[in-house]
């Protein structure tokens, strides 16, 4: 949807803000959605961030690489919200109870295709710690390098590497992706006899 008056009627400051942030909104929304796992909370989070940023519109104009900066603001806002949620007595449930969707049923191996696989990945992502989830989303889905993400998460490279390692291990476990575990695609060739010289171990 386009605002008829966006160009002609928005005040200059509102227009400047719009011009600065609009190109990054799809990415911010996608990040928020992955963090929360549902569109309503994702919209609330983006809305909250924009409301805060408007007051800092002049500062935004001076930021060279705006998208990671915005993602950092959004992530911090998300973490603050999660902390507030946890501090409420009624929110004493496990950290990711909000995101937990029913466990995959049947055989959830990664041979699943299309939408089913996508849903399995969403469910698995929702069960990661939020710092792991944010890292996975920004690294794999948004294409940031770990080096770039040191600024987003304000953490050293080594910390991010080990966090990513743990996130991968958990995701593989959740998706039952250990190669040659029952239900994986590789099972198709399990009947084949491996050649004798392929029996090495990590050489």
């Amino acid at each position: 949807m386009t605002i008829v008056n966006r160009l002609s009627f928005l005040s200059p400051s509102a227009r400047r803000f719009d011009t600065l942030v609009r190109p990054h909104l799809p990415s911010l929304y996608a990040f928020a959605f992955r963090l929360h796992g549902n569109p309503d909370d994702a919209e609330d989070l983006v809305q909250e961030v924009l409301a805060k940023l408007y007051a800092r519109a002049s500062e935004l104009a001076g930021i060279r690489d705006l998208r990671p900066w915005l993602q950092r603001v959004l992530y911090n806002q998300f973490v603050d919200g999660a902390r507030r949620q946890r501090s409420r007595p009624e929110a004493a449930a496990p950290e990711h109870a909000d995101y937990e969707i029913e466990d995959p049923t049947g055989d959830p191996g990664w041979h699943a295709e299309g939408a089913e696989l996508s849903e399995q990945i969403d469910r698995a992502l929702a069960r990661l710690d939020h710092d792991q989830r944010a890292l996975v989303v920004l690294h794999f889905m948004e294409g940031h390098t770990l080096e770039e993400l040191t600024r987003v998460f304000d953490a050293p490279l080594g910390t991010l590497k080990s966090r990513l390692h743990r996130a991968r291990a958990k995701l593989k476990h959740l998706l039952e992706m250990e190669p040659f575990a029952p239900g994986t695609r590789v099972v198709d060739i399990r009947e084949q006899q491996p050649p004798a010289d392929a029996m090495g171990n990590g050489q």
Partner: protein, 225 residues
């Protein structure tokens, strides 16, 4: 096949998987992976990374970005900065809002008045409230003319005692939002007419306005020519 060769083939497979979702490492590599724990781990990571990269991004609901930006401006300025000089530097107190859908489609060069729909909105007396009109346009239209005609007891914020306001604007293809901060001056029923003109096309919609608390008949008023 040794680990070095296997990992090389995994990388080749990964590159190919970007364009061919059905691909998988060759049989010899898979046989090695089956027997080598280090390569299994590497292969598992590679598969997972590929799956994550191929996930499509969630898309926001229609109009959310526009709404979010407007709300951000309004929360910071009380709407006083939302409207620029072109439409009156209107310091509207944006409270309850009515959404009126207007369609502007059809074949270019023809009148689309017949698809107009009337709608109503309840206003709080003497308080400026924003009526929003959605204009659905099948194509971009440069310098379309928008005319607002107000009943005597209705006032557009920033335009006191002015019953007809006309201006030109560019409509983009898709949904366009027109926000009109208006003030109801007495207890009587009222209305505002929104007309759109572009070349031979024209479209009009009447929005009935009544004091909040009174009943409202949507679509009861005739469409203006």
């Amino acid at each position: 096949m040794n680990c070095k060769d296997t990992r090389y083939h995994i990388q080749l497979w990964l590159q190919a998987a970007g364009t061919d979702a059905g691909s998988e490492p060759d049989g010899e590599s898979l046989r090695h992976i089956k027997c080598c724990s280090a390569c299994r781990l590497e292969y598992g990571d590679a598969v997972l990374d590929q799956l994550l990269r191929q996930q499509s991004a969630p898309v926001a609901r229609d109009g959310f970005f526009d709404r979010a930006i407007i709300a951000a401006v309004q929360r910071n300025t009380g709407a006083s900065q939302l409207w620029g000089r072109g439409f009156g530097a209107l310091a509207a107190s944006v409270a309850a809002v009515a959404l009126v859908v207007g369609l502007w489609g059809g074949v270019p060069g023809t009148s689309s008045r017949d698809v107009a729909r009337d709608a109503g909105v309840a206003q709080i007396l003497h308080e400026a409230q924003t009526v929003r009109v959605l204009i659905d346009s099948v194509a971009a239209r440069d310098r379309a003319t928008i005319t607002i005609e107000l009943a005597e007891n209705l006032e557009l914020e920033g335009f006191p005692n002015q019953r007809v306001i006309e201006w030109q604007t560019d409509l983009l293809a898709g949904r366009n939002l027109l926000a009109l901060p208006v003030r109801l001056k007495d207890q009587g029923e009222s209305y505002l007419d929104v007309s759109l003109h572009h070349g031979d096309e024209q479209k009009a919609i009447r929005v009935s306005v009544r004091p909040a608390g009174t009943s409202m008949q949507l679509g009861a008023l005739p469409i203006r020519a």
